[in-house]
Structure formats: structure tokens, C-alpha cells
């Protein structure tokens, strides 16, 4: 490293570390937004689920006296039987109860004649919070119906199993990790975002910012080849991008430890080895993010103008990272070579607890580094132009 390049790098680092605005956006909001959002959202989900599971199910029953056996069966199954409200439909609409069972007067006579005895369930299926109670009540009633039916067949000397033409076995192959990974598509998205947010401020500051502050002309007059000035600034920008990336990954690792995801039947963890692997996968993108944003900002005359361009630009990698959810063929080598897309796919594999294919991962990194280097050359070329001033 030449001494001029080093001097530029050190000055950019000192200056930006003293700037509260840069620090807040590059090293606080950018890296911590994802982990905080993740922790907050999942703590909320886990707590609501837990509360609901612990709660005793309440079931108001109208006409309980017509079906004493059914009611005592429900009690045995742990359901708390309540007296019916005055206006049944209204109380469902008012969210007072999730579901209400009505046993009509004719129940007993239908029962005795061995006809299907009618019971009525009143509920609102569009209410998401009621769905557990609805499903539970329906399955309890179905189980009671089957139990009584079997007894009736036995009483008539028929094997109850004649009713079951099929025996369906369920084998759910999802592992706790893969169920969790479904929710972890958000990690690649925030990782990509942190790379861009981390380097955005410096990319603007070193081009449009210098121009707006009127410090570019004196700087370009020093007896140093301009590529050295450009590279000193780029290395500083890159450092912020990488630092932001590291903070994001550490933030996610801590957030995952805080949220009791096992209670949702998920197992997610981001150990230090995986943090290092994810860092290595994403690092080549930091070069692309730094150089690309510098190139774009170089065309702006003011800080605000550059900020507008870069905010729009950031949508492209962020949407690309999010798009991996909708990809049909995730193993296509061609797709995995694309910067951002390739890294997002490989990061997803790591989070799912699988290994990213080494060859393809190296190739993706190489493509991104070549692209980043070309953009660096473009930055140096722009600095050398007469109208860069």
C-alpha cells in the first residue's frame, strides 16, 4: 500500500468514525434493523402461541341437558363447559366466544332411533384466533361420533374396521432446522441490505460529498496519482461495508439465541463457524456494493441527489435477495453465479443446516470479485476525468 493511499484511507476512517450520522446509519441502524425485527417478531409469535396452548378451551353449550353423555365426554377431554349466552350469534360476532355448541331438543329422540343426531356449531371461520378452538371442537365431536358408531357396530356383531377402507400414514420429513429456515429467508435479505447501507454513506461522501463541500478541487491538486486517492477512499468504504456485514451476522446470531424458537417446533442456530462461513460468502459482495455505489454517486452533484439514486439502486439487490423464495430450480449453476442471487442461495443453504457446494460458491465469489474489480477500475477512470471536478 502506498503512503498516499494509506493516508487517504486513514483520514476517511477517522473522519467518518467521528460523524454521528455515518455511524448511526452504517453501523447501527443498518446492521441491527434485521436482527431486531427478527427477535421482536418471533418473540411475539412464540408468546402468543404459548399463551394459547396453555389456555383451557371454553365451550358454551346450549341445550346441554339433551345430551348428558356428550357433555360429560367433552368435560373428560378437558373442555370447560359454559352456559350459553343470551344471543348466540351476537356473542360470536362480538368476539366473546370462539365457538358455541347447540344441542337441539330433538337430539335425544334421534339418538334413540339410531339416526344421525343433529348438533350445531356456531363460529366465524374468518377469525384466525378462533381457528384452534374450531378445529379442536370439530375433531372432538368427530372422535365421539366414531367411538359411539364403533360401539353400535360391535353390538350388532360387525367388526368396526370395515368402515375404514384406507389406513393413511403420515410421514413429515421436515426437520426442526428446515422448518426454521422457511422463516430465515429474511437473513440473506438483511445481509445484502447491510452491505449496501454500510457503504452508502462513504460512497457518497467520497464523491458527491467532496464536491458539495468544495474540498475535491484541493484534493485533486496534490502530487499523487488519482487512482491512489480513489482506492484509498474505496478501501475505507469497503471496510465500513464489511464491518456492517459482521455486525449484522453477530446481531442475528444473538437474536436467535434470545428467541425460544424450539417452542414453535423450530431449531435455528447460528454458531460462530456459520457466522464465519456466511461472512466469507457475502464478503465479495461488499466490494461490488462499495464500488457500484461510488460509481453512481460520482455522477451526482450533491449529497441529496446521490442519496436519492442510491436508495433506488438498493431496491435491486434487496429484491433479488428476496426473490430466492420464488425460485423453482435453486440448483441451476447459471443462476448461482449471479452476484447477490448466488450468495443468497448459498446463505440459505447454510441456514438450513446444509453445506453450500464449495466449487460453485468459489465461482460465485470469483464472479463477484471480478465485477467488483471492474467497477473499481471504473471509479479510478472517473477520478481521472477532467469533468470529475
Amino acid at each position: 500500500m502506498t503512503s498516499a493511499l494509506w493516508a487517504v484511507f486513514r483520514k476517511e476512517l477517522i473522519e467518518n468514525l467521528r460523524d454521528v450520522r455515518t455511524l448511526a446509519s452504517a453501523l447501527l441502524i443498518g446492521p441491527l434493523m434485521g436482527p431486531l425485527l427478527f427477535a421482536g417478531l418471533f418473540t411475539l409469535i412464540v408468546n402468543t402461541e404459548k399463551q394459547r396452548a396453555e389456555q383451557e378451551m371454553e365451550l358454551p353449550v346450549a341445550g346441554a341437558e339433551h345430551a348428558a353423555n356428550l357433555v360429560s365426554y367433552l368435560k373428560q377431554q378437558g373442555v370447560k363447559i359454559l352456559p350459553p349466552p343470551e344471543d348466540i350469534e351476537q356473542s360470536i360476532a362480538n368476539n366473546e366466544y370462539n365457538i358455541i355448541l347447540i344441542i337441539p331438543e330433538g337430539f335425544a329422540s334421534q339418538w334413540q332411533q339410531v339416526e344421525p343426531a343433529t348438533v350445531e356449531l356456531v363460529f366465524d371461520k374468518s377469525r384466525k384466533d378462533a381457528s384452534r378452538d374450531i378445529v379442536l371442537t370439530q375433531s372432538l365431536l368427530a372422535a365421539y361420533s366414531a367411538q359411539i358408531g364403533q360401539l353400535r357396530l360391535l353390538a350388532r356383531g360387525i367388526k368396526p374396521s370395515v368402515l375404514n377402507a384406507l389406513a393413511v400414514d403420515h410421514q413429515d420429513l421436515s426437520t426442526p432446522e428446515s422448518r426454521g429456515a422457511l422463516l430465515m429467508v429474511i437473513l440473506p435479505l438483511f445481509v445484502v441490505m447491510s452491505l449496501f447501507i454500510g457503504s452508502m454513506y462513504l460512497a457518497i461522501d467520497s464523491t458527491a460529498g467532496e464536491r458539495e463541500r468544495q474540498s475535491l478541487e484541493p484534493l485533486l491538486m496534490v502530487p499523487v496519482p488519482r487512482w491512489q486517492i480513489a482506492m484509498g477512499k474505496l478501501v475505507a468504504t469497503l471496510s465500513f461495508s464489511l464491518f456492517s456485514l459482521l455486525l449484522t451476522l453477530i446481531g442475528f446470531a444473538l437474536a436467535m439465541r434470545m428467541v425460544p424458537l424450539e417452542e414453535l417446533g423450530m431449531k435455528l442456530s447460528l454458531g460462530s463457524t456459520n457466522v464465519v462461513i456466511l461472512f466469507l460468502i457475502a464478503a465479495p459482495l461488499a466490494l461490488v456494493a462499495s464500488a457500484l455505489q461510488t460509481v453512481i454517486a460520482a455522477f451526482a452533484r450533491s449529497f441529496r441527489e446521490a442519496q436519492t439514486y442510491l436508495s433506488v439502486l438498493m431496491l435491486i439487490p434487496v429484491l433479488t435477495a428476496a426473490s430466492i423464495q420464488f425460485l423453482q430450480d435453486k440448483s441451476s449453476l447459471l443462476l448461482s453465479l449471479l452476484p447477490v442471487l448466488g450468495q443468497s442461495l448459498q446463505m440459505e443453504l447454510i441456514i438450513r443446516g446444509e453445506a453450500a457446494p464449495l466449487g460453485a460458491t468459489m465461482l460465485t465469489a470469483l464472479v463477484s470479485m471480478v465485477l467488483g474489480s471492474l467497477l473499481c477500475l471504473l471509479v479510478a477512470w472517473l477520478y481521472n476525468r477532467e469533468d470529475f471536478l
Binding site: D19, P218, M221, V222, P223, V224
Partner: protein, 250 residues
Amino acid sequence: MITVDKIKKSFAGVDAVKSVSFSAKDGEITGLLGPNGAGKTTTLRMLYSLYQPESGCITVDGMDPMSAPIEVRKKLGALPDSRGLYRHLTARENIRYFGQLHGMSSVELDKRTAELIDLLGIAQIADRRTAGFSQGERVKVAIARAVVHQPQNILLDEPTNGLDVSSTRALRAFLKQQRDSGRCVLFSSHIMQEVMALCDRIVVIAHGLVVADGRADELLEKTGKTDLEDAFVSLVDIDSSSSGNVGAQT
């Protein structure tokens, strides 16, 4: 020592500098006098090799800025049109940064920075961040930064713009001192009194052309005027018919 021979520069087909020739000698203060948009800033930018002249030739201590820009810049110290400082750095750090870019050693820089802070009378603000500096304080720091490497040639683009009387006087004293130590000082201005007060030689530029070159009394003689302002106006108006306003100042 700077020589300029028939340099020309245009932007988007408009001539900013049509043909400018002059020389600025060591041990003299040369003034580049001209109205706004005359081509002063463009001329200076060609001297410190930010712009490439389309034709003509420049030498700084015998070297061509286009073929040896790095060597020429080492011999030049310039206060350009834009003089922004880094607001999160202190005055001292701003000066030191440019010294580092000039390849100065840390020991050398400590000595030189202290010397300049003393010379320009900015000791009180030297270790404050420059964010809240007044215009005068800012120009002083910008000048210290420009001459930190002790250049033989000092170029200043409208250095007294926005300065109050005491700052202007301090600046003049500094430039005279530089001249007396044998340096070549070239500065541009559109204010005639200032040029008269300070310069040994005056080069009057208007519409991208040199319209007069000489000592103050020679200019009066040439125009046949007794008043400096009349002389300036008559010089600048000579060629106003040949083209409209050619602005190149940014």
C-alpha cells in the same frame, strides 16, 4: 517561475480562455485581474493541471504540467476557487492531511504545521474541528494547507473573497513575506484596489484574452487615464464587442 504561452480552453464549444500569455517571476507578486467570467479560474486550473489546455504551452519552473503533472504539483501550492475543509477534522489535521499527501514525514510535518499556525495566527482554533469556522478562519486554514509543502510557486484564486479587513491584511502580509523570501506568487482578483495594493505586476484578462500586462503606472500610461478604476474599465471594454459573456467559473 511560471510562463504561459497562448493557452486556449473551451467548454461545450464556448471559449473560456481564447489566448492567454504572461509570465510570473520569482520574488514578485503577479496579479491576474479581470471581471467575473474573464477566464481567470480556468487559466489557474490549467496551471495546476486540473484542465488540459487545447493549445498553447505552460511551464512551471521549466516543467510542463501536462507531461509532468506530479512534479509540477510538488512545486505548486494553490488556494483554488473551492476551498472546503473537512469539517470533522481539526484545523491542524486538515493541514497535516495535505502534508501527508505531499509525502512529508511526520517530524517534518509537526515542525511545518506549528510554523504555519503561528505565521497565520490561527493557534487558538488549531485544534478545533473546522465545522463552525468563520470564512476568514477557513481561508487561513486553506492557505496553510496549500503551502504546507513549501512550494516555490503560490497560486491563489480570489483569496480575499468574503474576508474582513483584518483577515485581508493578514493575508497580504503573508503574501508579501512569501515574495520577499523569493517565491513566485500569482493571484487572481476582480477587485482592482486589491491588485494595486499588492502586486508588482498586473495582467488584465477580459473575455479570455490578455488585454494589458505591466506595472500599475504603465497601465495608467497605456490607457491615458489618471484613475485606476477608469483604466480598468477602459481595458476590459476593449474587446467586449468580439464576444459575449464567457463564463467558466464554477
